[in-house]
Subunit: 448 residues, 2 copies
């Protein structure tokens, strides 16, 4: 253990001394492990970090180590750390502190210099699904009449004041601060000091700028970045005034956030609740379990209608889960593919019919194959050709229903403006269970 801790200390040192690139999440993980071994060493390592590194590491610490760090790092040091990171990160940091200790977050906020503080207050207004939550107020801009020499001066100033923020692009604004366009530095680099921005733009060819609003939904922002292969976009207010920017690393986070929401929604889990304590996670998940209990009780009721048939042929009870499981699985395959195609915008215009045709085609092929295997097993097991035939028919029809439902349910919910990931799977299993049990038992009741 001691050698492992020594190695952590050494690795952190290499990163803070710029011998290796600084990796906040890596340092945070090493610090978390140091804390479990030696609390004093954890605090002394934290206190040695310079402001910017401290801010970035605090954001990456696991929750227990973070709470522990808050108890010891003085508020003025946290405030300095928040000032030296980008405004969207500083906002996240204050929010994390607020979740744990509202008094402390107010205290830290009051120690942050006025300009950064008002940025944080402004950014806190937006929720996780809005572009504003990912926006940085730090950006570099110039007016048409400015010369290249003036821009160089601005770059030098920006580098002094915001050493942690990559510049990426120069935004061009008018006297009222309204966005007119943007220039890459690899282009600007080619012009002499006395050339004006207006002349630069004229020589490069004017391109209309893309921009978004801070209230734009995250989905739309990601779509713009992906469709235009952007690495930066301007954020403007309702009057067209440039107020911030969103850059590539925010897009990495947004895509992860969107994908995670979708994966969780399919299982009836929510990210925000999972990040909270055990009780909040349990509460959110319980709702889903109770909804599922409700729907499966309807399926039970359907089974109970055939109690006399089951009493005479008890094997039916053993085979019911087979019909339900296969219907559920085939339906989930169609559902997953359809939800994914919807999310990537691949189902548009007149091709919903095509999607349905394909999905039903797949379950027809697979239905025949699975029904053949399952009914053979049933025949070998129970030696009853009629039971075997009923099993085959029930599986085939349940799978076709499952494929159609797995496609139509998300498409329908999407048309109604409901996120298909959230509600589709309940509707799907309800449909396949109820219809699957009914078809199987009805046929057994009629033919056995």
């Amino acid at each position: 253990m001691r050698t492992k801790i020594k190695k952590h200390i050494e690795k952190i040192h290499q990163q803070t001394e710029n011998i290796e690139p600084f990796n906040p999440s890596n340092v945070a993980k090493r610090l978390a492990e140091i804390r479990e071994y030696d609390l004093g060493l954890f605090f002394s390592s934290l206190s040695k970090l310079k402001d910017q590194h401290l801010g970035e590491v605090l954001l990456e610490l696991p929750s227990e180590a973070f709470i522990c760090a808050l108890g010891r790092v003085p508020p003025h040091k946290i405030a300095a750390a928040a000032e030296s990171i980008e405004s969207d990160e500083a906002t996240d940091l204050i929010q994390l502190i607020k979740n744990i200790n509202e008094g402390l977050s107010d205290k830290v906020l009051s120690l942050i210099e006025w300009e950064d503080r008002s940025d944080i207050v402004e950014l806190s207004k937006y929720n996780d699904d809005q572009a504003g939550a990912y926006m940085e107020h730090e950006f570099l801009s110039a007016q048409m009449s400015d010369t290249v020499a003036t821009v160089k001066e601005s770059v030098r100033r920006f580098r002094r004041e915001e050493s942690a923020t990559p510049i990426i692009k120069l935004f061009i604004i008018d006297k009222e601060g309204k966005l007119l366009g943007s220039v890459h530095f690899s282009d600007l680099f080619l012009f002499d000091n006395d050339v004006t921005i207006e002349e630069v733009i004229a020589s490069l060819g004017y391109r209309p700028p893309l921009s978004i609003r801070p209230v734009s939904p995250v989905n739309e922002v990601v779509q713009l970045f992906e469709e235009y292969d952007l690495n930066i976009i301007a954020v403007v207010d309702s009057s067209g005034k440039l107020i911030g920017r969103i850059v590539y690393d925010d897009i990495y986070d947004m895509i992860r956030h969107i994908e995670m929401d979708q994966a969780y929604a399919l299982a009836g889990v929510r990210e925000e609740s999972e990040e909270g304590n055990l009780r909040s996670a349990a509460k959110q998940r319980l709702i889903w379990l109770l909804v599922n209990l409700g729907t499966v009780l309807i399926a039970s009721f359907v089974i109970s209608l055939f109690d006399e048939t089951i009493a005479s042929y008890v094997v039916l009870a053993a085979l019911l889960p087979v019909v339900a499981a296969l219907g559920g699985n085939a339906g989930m395959q169609a559902l997953t593919v359809t939800i994914r195609k919807l999310a990537l915008g691949e189902i548009e215009y007149a091709n919903t019919a095509k999607t349905l045709k394909r999905e039903v085609g797949i379950v027809m092929i697979n239905g025949v194959a699975v029904a053949a295997v399952a009914s053979s097993v049933v025949y070998v097991w129970f030696g009853d050709p009629m039971l075997s035939a009923i099993m085959a028919m029930a599986i085939l029809s349940t799978l076709v229903i499952a494929g159609a439902a797995g496609t139509l349910i998300p498409l329908g919910l999407n048309k109604l403006g409901i996120d298909p990931a959230v509600a589709s799977s309940v509707f799907l299993t309800t449909t396949t269970d109820i219809l699957g049990f009914f078809i199987f038992l009805f046929m057994a009741d009629t033919f056995l």
Copy 2:
């Protein structure tokens, strides 16, 4: 319809004439709709696109429209389009053509000028899970002894030859082409023409460069970009020679690719098969259904062991799906959260025990709640207090097993080096079904 098509033509015109920014996927969608209405108009609109736009649009066309376009656009025009887009995109384009018509892709490849052709041949060697598949061979580099004026000349040449490729950063190499470092243009911009790159680096402070190999797994590349907030990284060969670069928009694709693989794996679907024809998708999905058939037949066998009990209490048959459904759902919640934490690297070091404790805690709380509701319903429905008590016990124990299995299965598979998303859910439902049915029926057999 006619006015809609007119609007499409107009919108495409605005984008190709640079009145609006060019959006390949948007143009591709409009063209696909034009094709369904007027095939001639589709071809004439395609032929009006300049090479670079044509290349980008071909990559975004839905498969039917793409196949149709290949039949009419002359090979030399496709070759010109491939030459004018980035080498990784050109490789994708040739690959897409090859999937449809190998003769045509060979023909197009032979018409591409030597340098671009050898890039494409080189990039085709890597598969979708390797960094090489996303690498571009186009990049800008300079040596330590070069002056800023020389770099300006290189930028002008690069702009003429590769107008579609953003420059982003200047790579610095030695005489053998080995990577030494990199500079942002917003920094380089501040230096005079006669300053050498060596002096620039000395004045900015040397930073060790990050790089990857073309065979690096996509997961690791994405991790680097996310941890260091990168927008570009150098790709080097085994001797450290700079051979290409990967940029932010490739990362957007990679994250989507990784997330899609995971969502699909959970449902027993595979991206490559889904992109193929109906038969390839059906075949891949069938394997999953047969595996599930096998496991659920084991559960059926467990039920059949208790046939006498079920014959005496037919209500048990109606209640079996309730136990299975609740166990499956609670297990999938734990499983989804655990897989996600594993993917994001949040479960490391000594905290697997913590994760298990939390997940089992959640199912204990929810198990009591769901068991209370379910057993009340059973009591009201059947009026049998013992049956109601058995139901409660069975649900509670099945949920606890489901929570533990939903956590331990992905952790175990991950430890064995197996992707937990691919296999976890089969193991989970097998466990919850078999144990759930057994506990329920065993208790019924004993106490009823």
